[in-house]
């Protein structure tokens, strides 16, 4: 399985590196997030803080609140759409060609997931680094923990996106499915809008959303509160999401690959 994972990873990585435009987009995307979100949200949090209230936002300065959120958002959106590339591979016959080899189905899946996760980790590191230049203060341990959490999210969503692509085999069906899932996940995770402002029923829903715990964990880690219980729950949620995503995707790959 490891051999097939590494073979697939090398193959996929070479294909990615052959498209400079995607590398540029992958590197530019986190910077764009920072450039667009920071001017909007920084004054908002600071104004609330000046009035003696956080306005429902968690504690910490604007960077410490929003950079972890942006990192999680990057993890979600950077991985959720990779299923489209699998559909293109199905259409070109590459997947079928690989399916007739004795290669492990899990290896064929994990090689692709590994490629996406490596790219995501580079993007997350870049975003954090640039945010530090802009004024973010974050302990190294906290930043590293958050990047690991982002990586686990990447594993989960990349695997699930490939599973959806393998199952649906159609861009026209995959696009609405991903849009339908991504909006509530994003809203209920409290990445952009604080869930403390939400009505009770929405907060209950949010508490049941594992991504909410992941976001809370990332924010706690950014504040350096590594002993906080929220960090444990967030890490546990991220691990469970990663394992669950791979298990589900593996089942779909096994089934669809006969």
């Amino acid at each position: 399985m490891l051999h097939d994972t590494l073979t697939t990873f090398r193959y996929q990585m070479r294909l990615l590196l052959r498209e400079p435009i995607w590398i540029a987009i992958a590197l530019f995307q986190p910077l764009l997030y920072l450039a667009l979100f920071a001017p909007l949200l920084k004054p908002l949090v600071e104004a609330q803080a000046a009035q003696g209230a956080q306005g429902g936002f968690p504690t910490g300065d604007a960077w410490q609140i929003f950079v972890p959120g942006l990192l999680i958002q990057l993890g979600i959106f950077g991985s959720m759409f990779v299923g489209f590339s699998l559909i293109a591979e199905i259409r070109s016959g590459v997947i079928e060609r690989m399916r007739v080899t004795p290669a492990s189905r899990l290896g064929l899946l994990l090689g692709r997931v590994m490629r996406d996760t490596v790219v995501l980790l580079l993007q997350a590191s870049l975003l954090t680094g640039v945010a530090v230049i802009f004024g973010l203060r974050v302990p190294v341990t906290g930043a590293l923990i958050t990047i690991v959490i982002v990586g686990l999210l990447g594993v989960s969503l990349s695997a699930l996106s490939y599973a959806a692509g393998m199952w649906l085999k159609s861009e026209d069906a995959l696009a609405p499915l991903l849009n339908m899932v991504s909006v509530p996940v994003l809203l209920l995770s409290g990445i952009l809008l604080p869930m403390t402002l939400a009505p009770k029923w929405l907060r209950t829903l949010s508490a049941a959303n594992p991504f909410r715990h992941v976001v809370d964990a990332a924010r706690v880690a950014f504040l350096g509160n590594t002993g906080d219980e929220a960090l444990l729950w967030g890490l546990l949620s991220a691990v469970l999401l990663a394992v669950g995503g791979v298990v589900v995707a593996n089942r779909v790959f096994q089934r669809e690959s006969a």
């Binding site: 097939d4 070479r14 498209e19 070109s92 079928e96 007739v100 290669a103 006969a258």
Partner: protein, 328 residues
Amino acid sequence: MIAVDQLRRTFQSKTGPVEAVRGVSFAVAAGEIVGFLGPNGAGKTTTQRMLSTLLTPTGGNATVAGCDLRKDPVGVRRKIGYVPQGGSTNPLASIVEELRTQAALHRVPRADAEARIDELLLSLDLQGLGARLTQTLSGSQRRRLDIALGLIHRPKLIFLDEPSTGLDPHSRANLWNHIRHLRDHDGATIVLTTHYLDEADALSDRILIMDHGQIVAEGSPQQLKRRISGDVVTFDVKDHQDAAKAVLGALAGVRDLSIVDSTVRAVVDQGSVDALPLMRALDAAGIPVAAMKVTQPSLDDVFLTLTGRSLRDSDTAASSAAAAPGAN
């Protein structure tokens, strides 16, 4: 090499279940080239996809290269090569990258893989192109790369799905030579699907003719053609096919009458002797004949005799009627 018993595959479609393969049974001996001939939608590709583990059968059993198809699909995959119909390469990968990756997935040791790649590039006329991205290759070059990918691990059993589709006549002739070489020098067993009559005729030691998911005839090209004793006389009568068929049907010694497009075909004992009286009978009935030809029976005539349809006509009809995914 292959033993198939009542293999069956049903697809679910919006209009209900579609039986793509309806319980076929056959055997393939080691070293044979066996051709599945039939129109689109006949079930030949579905049969091949089941035998190469790409589709799970809904019924029946098969042993492929000594492995039980249902119980040991991984064992089957280790021993077979498969060249799909519609291409199998990524446009952004180079020829050598595709071959190296496929070799690695087949667990071919690195040094052996490099030697094998050189060998395949040479034998399939791709030498000097190894670094080229597949998106820059011609259709014919890409098709030859598909074949190289299916052969990278020196399989003893090779499935070729419509191998010469998209090839120019020169490449097609080279490919046919290569397929014969695989059998004669490497001892490979080859199972191919085709809807080209000349390809099935020229390459196959044995042909299985499929129609509507069933094997309707089996034998060597010569054996199949001998099922039609005599010659085929074809009259082009434009819009008078039914009248011509009625006239010819009333004559003694005329067998297996059929209408294909604007022509009426009849089988007679001896074309050189019997054709003229037939022509005179049509003339006497006032049916204009634009052209007439006498030929030896072809595989198309065999198919026509067995099913009442021409393979060429069936292709057009079946391609528009193919209802289920993969049901061809």
